[in-house]
């Protein structure tokens, strides 16, 4: 079972590293994608666009190498929950948004496709939390 959760770590971590690298390569485009949500002023969106991809990369690496693991898991879980909330809110406000999560690959995804991917990642992260807690509880102190 431990090997299974390790594989989940690698897959989820790899997804975030991939998504982060794509966005870090084109921060201006990612800034425009953040701006599409119309929740933050541009000068904040553009600064986030430079920062968030690197946070994603470091957190993804934390999952892959199991270094600063719980910190990475916490940040990724919180950020994807926030992102799902922002996407739903944008949708309710009638905004036609491009999340830009995976660069051009996700450009033409429909809203249900976005939600399916985001919720799957969120569920995987929550599952990793529980798996990690159980593994730690099983280890004699």
């Amino acid at each position: 079972m431990k090997a299974f959760w390790r594989i989940v770590d690698l897959i989820v971590g790899g997804i975030f590293v991939y998504a982060g690298v794509i966005k870090a390569l084109d921060p201006v485009r990612f800034g425009l994608d953040i701006d599409n949500y119309k929740t933050l002023p541009w000068f904040v969106s553009v600064r986030f666009a430079f920062y968030l991809p690197w946070l994603e990369i470091f957190c993804g690496l934390a999952l892959i190498f199991r270094c600063l693991y719980r910190g990475g898991l916490s940040i990724l879980t919180a950020s994807i929950a926030l992102f799902i909330g922002a996407t739903v809110a944008a949708r309710l406000r009638g905004l036609d948004i491009t999340c830009g999560c995976f660069g051009h690959a996700s450009e033409h995804w429909s809203f249900p496709q976005h939600m399916a991917v985001d919720l799957s990642i969120f569920i995987a992260l929550v599952a990793l939390w529980f798996a990690n807690s159980r593994q730690r509880a099983a280890v004699p102190q």
């Binding site: 201006v28 800034g31 599409n36 553009v46 957190c59 719980r70 910190g71 916490s74 491009t98």
Partner: protein, 142 residues
């Protein structure tokens, strides 16, 4: 466990600042930090109208919206059928023309994307994005 997660999270947050600052410095001259579209690339409805026949209007909205209504004389050029529409649009250009691209509203992205592609792919220089888009055009023409 919680405090450890917080501590590790703070370390990751701090670490991510380092490459982000480096990248920000590298891109400092390539990014418009105050507005998503540099003000030099924006044009108001009144300004664009004052250009008269020198202005060539480009509608970046989807085909359906263009069919319903558009700025008189505008060409449809959206990213859904980019190659096909660009081929139809380019023969209408002459060096003295100024291109004004618009999409549905202030919040839409299509106009700046199309304007960027016209600059990058068609090597056009005088390309502007209409401030407020179609909504603003309609408001000014009521």
């Amino acid at each position: 466990m919680k405090s450890r997660a917080v501590r590790e999270g703070l370390i990751l947050i701090a670490l991510a600042f380092l490459p982000a600052i480096g990248e920000g410095i590298y891109f400092r001259d390539k990014v418009s930090w105050q507005s998503p579209i540099p003000t030099s690339e924006l044009v108001t409805v009144d300004q664009a109208r004052s250009w008269g026949n020198s202005a060539i209007w480009v509608d970046a909205r989807p085909d359906g919206e263009f069919s319903r209504n558009h700025v008189p004389g505008a060409f449809s050029l959206n990213e859904d059928h980019w190659n096909e529409l660009l081929a139809q649009f380019l023969p209408n250009l002459s060096p003295d023309k100024i291109v004004v691209v618009y999409c549905s509203a202030e919040s839409c992205n299509a106009a700046r994307e199309v304007a960027k592609r016209l600059r990058d792919e068609a090597q056009l220089k005088d390309v502007f994005v209409l401030q407020g888009g179609w909504e603003e055009w309609v408001r000014k023409n009521r």
